[in-house]
């Protein structure tokens, strides 16, 4: 045991010595070089040589941050904005390319159609675009089609959009900004950025109603019976219309308390709903739902009321605001807290036990009564 420990200690010592020797030799050679240098150029050599360790330290402290700073990534990128713009039937916007790079950017702008594949927008091929035989200039006009943007400056383009409703419904319009300058010796690279133009102008036909609408359907999924205090909601909004939807919404969970009462005079009085919770979903819906796509919003809600108050049927209401029109989807669920089930089972067991013990008691009484009589 002891010999093992000694060995370890010895090994450490040797390693430490080696390190020290290497460091010492390195410092020695640095100091030799330093000394010879000082000898030649400065008469105050003795004074400076005595300051040597301090000077080396200063060089190290100053040198390292400079090294790290020089390797830090600079913001040398191209920034295109707006990268999407929601317009009514017509309008214009300024498209800007900010050149934060250290290189000159030669740009070529063109109008292109995008299509949706697997929930992603993707530029259609030039073959497809040619086959459509569309004069895209009719929809979008750009004031300059080629431009050179100097480093650290901005290039601005006026994009005028007209007759968006004439764009084939399966496609989305876009302005392609192509970064040029190619060298065709080996594998050359080019970069494109796209600014998408969305038409979010919903008309009344698109939003005629959730259930009957040809365009929009929303479904609220949740379990029919909820045993815990956790309610998981899944709302799916399908946009089969040909317009993009901008939405916001919230979820209400409420109990209906005698929603209608008849007064003595025969008048029907509507009573308010008791809203238990109103959960905002705005964050999840603050984006476009483009044509032909759906969006699922998952919400988890904790019902913090005491379990005995949760018992009963509850109506969960999903209110969706699509382009400023409200739609409501409701579903009815039964809250059956597990605590109440446990209490019910225990009560039944207790009742059976009491009943059983009563029966046993009666039997015993009868027996003893008979014996006494004897």
């Amino acid at each position: 045991m002891n010999s093992g420990l000694k060995k370890t200690g010895l090994r450490f010592k040797v390693l430490g010595l080696r390190k020290f020797t290497i460091s010492f030799n390195l410092l020695l050679s640095i100091s030799k070089g330093f000394k010879s240098c000082i000898k030649r150029v400065h008469p105050l050599k003795t004074y400076l040589v005595s300051l040597k360790p301090l000077i080396i330290t200063v060089i190290l402290i100053v040198g390292f941050p400079i090294f790290f700073l020089s390797t830090a990534k600079a913001a040398n990128d191209f920034i295109l904005y707006p990268s999407y713009m929601s317009l009514k039937d017509s309008g214009s916007y300024v498209l800007t390319l900010r050149n934060d790079s250290q290189k000159e950017a030669n740009l070529k702008l063109s109008v292109i159609l995008l299509e949706r594949k697997d929930t992603r927008l993707i530029p259609i091929s030039s073959v497809e675009q040619e086959a459509l035989k569309l004069d895209l200039e009719k929809f979008v006009k750009i004031d300059r089609k080629e431009e050179t943007v100097a480093p650290n400056s901005e290039g601005e383009f006026n994009v005028i959009v007209s007759d968006l409703n004439l764009v084939p419904k399966a496609y989305t319009l876009s302005v392609k900004v192509e970064l040029l300058d190619l060298e065709r010796n080996s594998v050359s690279l080019s970069a494109d950025l796209y600014s998408i133009i969305l038409n979010s102008n919903l008309d009344s036909e698109d939003i005629a109603g959730i259930d009957t609408s040809v365009g929009i359907s929303a479904k609220l999924n949740l379990k029919n019976i909820i045993f815990t205090d956790s309610v998981k909601l899944e709302t799916k909004i399908e946009n089969s219309s040909q317009k993009s939807l901008m939405g916001s919404g919230g979820i209400s969970i409420f109990k209906e308390i005698n929603s209608k009462l008849k007064s003595k005079s025969g008048e029907i009085i509507e009573l308010d709903k008791l809203i238990l919770s109103d959960i905002s979903l705005t964050k999840d819906l603050q984006n476009f739902i483009v044509p032909g796509t759906s969006r699922t919003i998952n919400t988890r809600y904790i019902d913090s009321r005491p379990f005995y108050k949760r018992l009963g049927f509850v109506t969960v209401e999903q209110k969706i605001k699509l382009n400023d029109e409200d739609f409501i989807v409701t579903t009815r669920v039964l809250f059956l807290p597990w605590q109440l089930i446990v209490i019910a089972i225990l009560s039944v067991i207790l009742l059976i036990y009491i009943l059983k013990s009563r029966r046993t008691g009666k039997k015993l009484r009868r027996r003893f009564g008979k014996r006494k009589a004897k």
Binding site: Y81, S83, S126, E183, V187, S188, Y194
Partner: protein
């Protein structure tokens, strides 16, 4: 005798009670060397007194009402100023700040609004924090935003903005910011029922991109206590943006910036797989909530030299099942500074073995993307992707200079 004693007691009691009920005013010396003020009377000061269970609103000398007002401030005394809530202040309203410029206290990523929305900042949302100015915990606040053409918008209970408001849109500090560290707020920390960390990143939605708003806030702490709006603070939203750049550098060149023309030299292509020394580095970033897609396509579906072609195929080049050589791209590294992450889901170039490549065609193929699905965020800052170019030839291929043009496209994932 007894009756006279009783009468005496009553008289003394009346005198004592009258003495006690007479208001006592603090008397001070208002004389100077040359002047003295007569009939000096100092009225009591009204206000709100609170204990844990009870609150008292008192107002003495209700007739006094001298107000001093300027555009931004007002000094009021007496009724009703004496029990008005204190005018709150705006600590911060931000869309494009970073760690060096933010005034907000609760940004989760500690890099201002850019840390939450991605570079260059938020385009449809903002973060506001309010200085309660010692108003009680249950004080409610109304946030007002004025756009460039003078329309007023009010923060709603669902955190969107609307041109109308009602009493439900007066919200507590906890409801606006998701946290109120004061005792009794029920949202002091993560264990409290009203604590809402979602509001730490941003809490005003539905703003117009590229718009400047003047923002102010008023407080209400019980009936008739509503204050005027606080001094306005200006905020400008950004535009939805794409950040993009290409660079050519070796495998450790993550921080290297290179200029056009971008060209990758494959060297001599033989019957064993050649990998370019230089990688294609792509910088990407966005503030778009739905994220972005990076696509790649080429001009020739392979490397061409006159009529000769080394086809681009998705295959393991070491195997080269077609025996006709091959060429393609392979993702090497993926990283981001914050948000995102950059995803390889569905990517054609996220391949298995070391020389397995994804093919290039004249149609766009997905390289990487960002998405708001699940716990992912569409926004990303400082995204960086590197791709290797790999090629293999066969002895049957005629010698020549083989070349191709690869185009990378970045577009919003709406």
């Amino acid at each position: 005798m007894k009756l006279s004693k009783l009468g005496f007691t009553i008289v003394i009691s009346v005198i004592v009670s009258v003495f006690l009920s007479t208001p006592v005013f603090a008397q001070a010396q208002f004389d100077s060397t040359n002047y003295s003020l007569l009939d000096v009377e100092i009225g009591g000061v009204g206000g709100v007194s609170e204990s844990t269970n009870y609150g008292l609103i008192n107002s003495i000398d209700p007739t006094a009402n001298s107000r001093l007002e300027s555009t931004n401030y007002a000094l009021g005394s007496g009724f009703p100023s004496s029990f008005q809530a204190h005018v709150p202040l705006i600590i911060c309203i931000e869309t494009n700040t970073d760690s060096g410029t933010t005034d907000c206290n609760n940004f989760p990523n500690a890099n201002g609004a850019k840390g939450e929305c991605g570079d260059p900042g938020c385009y449809d949302r903002a973060k506001i924090e309010i200085d309660h100015q010692d108003n009680p915990v249950d004080t409610v606040y109304l946030v007002r935003l004025e756009d460039e053409i003078g329309n007023f918008y009010y923060l709603q209970s669902d955190m969107s903005v609307s041109q109308t408001y009602d009493i439900n849109d007066y919200l507590t500090l906890c409801e606006i910011e998701g946290v109120d560290t004061r005792t009794g707020s029920t949202c002091e920390n993560g264990g409290d029922p009203n604590y809402n960390a979602d509001l730490f990143s941003y809490n005003i939605f539905g703003l117009k991109p590229g718009e400047t708003y003047e923002v102010s806030v008023r407080a209400l702490s019980g009936d008739f206590t509503e204050t005027q709006f606080s001094p306005e603070v200006q905020v400008t939203t950004e535009y939805p943006s794409l950040v993009f750049d290409l660079d050519i550098a070796n495998s450790v060149g993550i921080n290297t910036e290179t200029s056009v023309p971008y060209s990758v030299n494959l060297g001599t292509i033989t019957s064993s797989t050649a990998t370019s020394v230089n990688r294609i580095w792509v910088d990407l970033g966005t503030n778009i909530v739905d994220g972005v897609n990076l696509y790649a396509k080429d001009s020739n579906s392979g490397l061409v030299s006159g009529p000769n072609l080394i086809p681009s195929q998705s295959e393991d080049l070491d195997v080269d099942s077609g025996g006709d050589g091959g060429y393609g791209l392979k993702l090497e590294t993926i990283s981001e500074d914050s948000l995102g992450p950059v995803l390889t889901t569905g990517s054609n170039y996220s391949t298995g073995s070391s020389n397995q490549v994804g093919n290039l065609t004249t149609s766009n193929s997905l390289v990487v993307s960002t998405s708001d699905s699940g716990s992912n965020l569409g926004q990303v800052s400082g995204g960086r992707v590197s791709l290797m170019v790999k090629a293999k030839s066969t002895t049957a291929k005629p010698a020549g200079i083989y070349s191709d043009l690869i185009t990378f496209s970045l577009l919003a994932n709406l």
